[in-house]
Amino acid sequence: MSGAGLALVDLSKHFGGVIATDRLTWQIAAGELHALIGPNGAGKTTLLSQLSGELSPDAGRILFDGRDITALSADRRTLLGIGRSFQGTSLFAEFSVLDNVRLAVQARAGHSFRFWRAARQDAALNQAAFAQLREAGLDHRAQATAGSLSHGEQRQLDLAMALVGRPRLLLLDEPMAGLGAEESLAMVARLKALKGRHSIVLVEHDMTAVFELADRITVLVYGRAIATGTPADIRANAEVRAAYLGEAPPAGERHAGA
């Protein structure tokens, strides 16, 4: 299992007069870690939402593992193997950490139309949820309320939930944002471990992390991909430097915080 390929054909999305995705044609190979960078408002989150199925594009097609998924709902896409984590995290804040992951596990099990048995005493559910928490280093926090976790822990939980069921494609929206230097390093290490096991689209402003992790990088500006290439290509690209990288911290120097 090492991910599945993704292809976008002429994808477009407008919000009134704002063009968030502009006839985007784009490919990600199976198992690739593809970083998506670009200034604020470039349309990165909007693109992820179209890939996850939360937003439907105005035009164009999305192919996942060769299959046209443009018309599929978000929940169907998840069951096909697309996982997503959110910008600024998105949790069940008043649930326990364990219940958050339980929900992810039972959702991936296909359907939760089970009305009778107590979910919290369901051994299969508990084991799978705990395994996921252990992998995220959060097992000691299992009973804590998700909303009470530190920001770094919340990011790890958010990612852990996206990883349930080993999605073939992982969509990550700024997993490094708001993390301290140490937490950032931990997250980079975690993503490195995930690399190759899933195809990954990584949206991230932390350029050090991006250049360290990515196989390829696409630069998005006003919904258009102005460049795609290896980290070396992108670093050398004059247009990219002008449009975006000029503002970014020099590579090699960790950019802590956001």
Partner: protein, 319 residues
């Protein structure tokens, strides 16, 4: 904490079970009627709590199902079909189907729109009831107590009371299982963070619709009991103020606790009865304005007992 909740359920049920004896001892037979009313509203409020408390969906038309259940009993009776074995299943089934239709439309919206649409559906049914002249128009229709086989006789107030109590106990038990099941976890997940749940792979609409149908069917059962209690079914049961009262019971007692709505129904029905009596004694004609006193009481509960009455009995967090 769930253990606490269960203990409170049992305590309440045992206390309710003692009411017929107490009514007899005090020679106040009318207490039996009053408490049967409490039990029936408790069932309706528990059913509403499934969607309002656990689903996070404020349905402002829940009394529609109370009315549909009642009409099922009344209409069948009018056609000489007095058997409870027919009336009760039909009441549950028809309410469930109505909930499926109403939920199918309203659950596509959220927030304020959901409140308005459920309210509109209930008012539609209310006016439909009024327009059905064959079934009594706005007066409604008479319905004798449902008939069961030999030893069971609902004309016996005590038997009727214990039937209502059994249905309440069953509702609490089933409700408790439901909210703690995988289904219940998903339903509460949708309340907490709908978007995330969908991206985790849960088709949220289907879960909400299922909960809405279960709640509607259970409330229909309460409606069948209500028509039996009154030996009458009328459109006024479906009026929007009745839906509002059900919401008040749930919130007063404690949203999302199942036990709370039982307490809420108890408090509501007793206050309705005794406050109006007390006010009537103060000044004749004033009894009907009992809500003038009830309103501020509600505000006090909202201000000082955020978890509702259940929170007062068991201080701590509401969840």
């Amino acid at each position: 904490m769930i253990g606490d909740r269960r203990r409170l359920d049992w305590t309440l049920l045992v206390l309710f079970a003692g009411v017929p004896g107490a009514a007899l001892a005090l020679d106040e037979p009318y207490l039996l009627d009053l408490f049967a009313r409490v039990l029936i509203f408790a069932i309706a409020a528990v059913s509403l709590d499934l969607i309002l408390g656990y689903g996070g969906l404020v349905s402002f038309g829940h009394a529609a199902f109370l009315g549909i259940g009642g009409y099922a009993v009344g209409m069948l009776y009018q056609h000489d079909l007095g058997s409870g074995f027919l009336q009760f299943p039909v009441a549950v089934l028809v309410s469930g189907v109505a909930a499926l239709a109403i939920g199918w439309v309203s659950l596509r919206t959220g927030g304020l729109y959901f409140i308005m649409i459920t309210l509109a559906f209930a008012q539609m049914l209310y006016y439909l009831g009024i327009s059905l002249k064959v079934y009594g128009g706005d007066d409604g229709m008479r319905a004798r107590r449902s008939e069961f086989f030999a030893p069971i006789d609902l004309n016996d107030q005590t038997q009727f009371y214990y039937l209502a109590l059994a249905v309440l106990a069953l509702s609490l038990w089933l409700g408790r299982r439901l909210v703690n099941s995988r289904f219940g976890l998903a339903l509460q997940g949708a309340r907490s963070n709908e978007r995330r749940l969908r991206v985790l792979g849960v088709p949220v609409f289907r879960y909400r619709l299922t909960a809405f149908v279960i709640a509607g069917a259970l409330c229909g059962l309460a409606g069948a009991l209500f028509a039996n209690l009154n030996e009458y079914a009328s459109p006024s049961t479906m009026h929007w103020t009745r839906s509002g009262e059900l919401i008040v019971m749930v919130i007063l007692g404690g949203v999302g606790t199942l036990t709370g709505p039982v307490l809420g129904a108890l408090a509501f029905v007793l206050l309705e009865s005794y406050l109006s009596e007390a006010l009537e004694a103060l000044a004749s004609g004033f009894g009907q304005h009992w809500q003038v006193v009830f309103g501020p009481l509600l505000v006090a509960v909202a201000l000082f007992a955020r978890g509702g009455l259940v929170g007062l009995l068991r201080p701590g967090r509401g969840e």
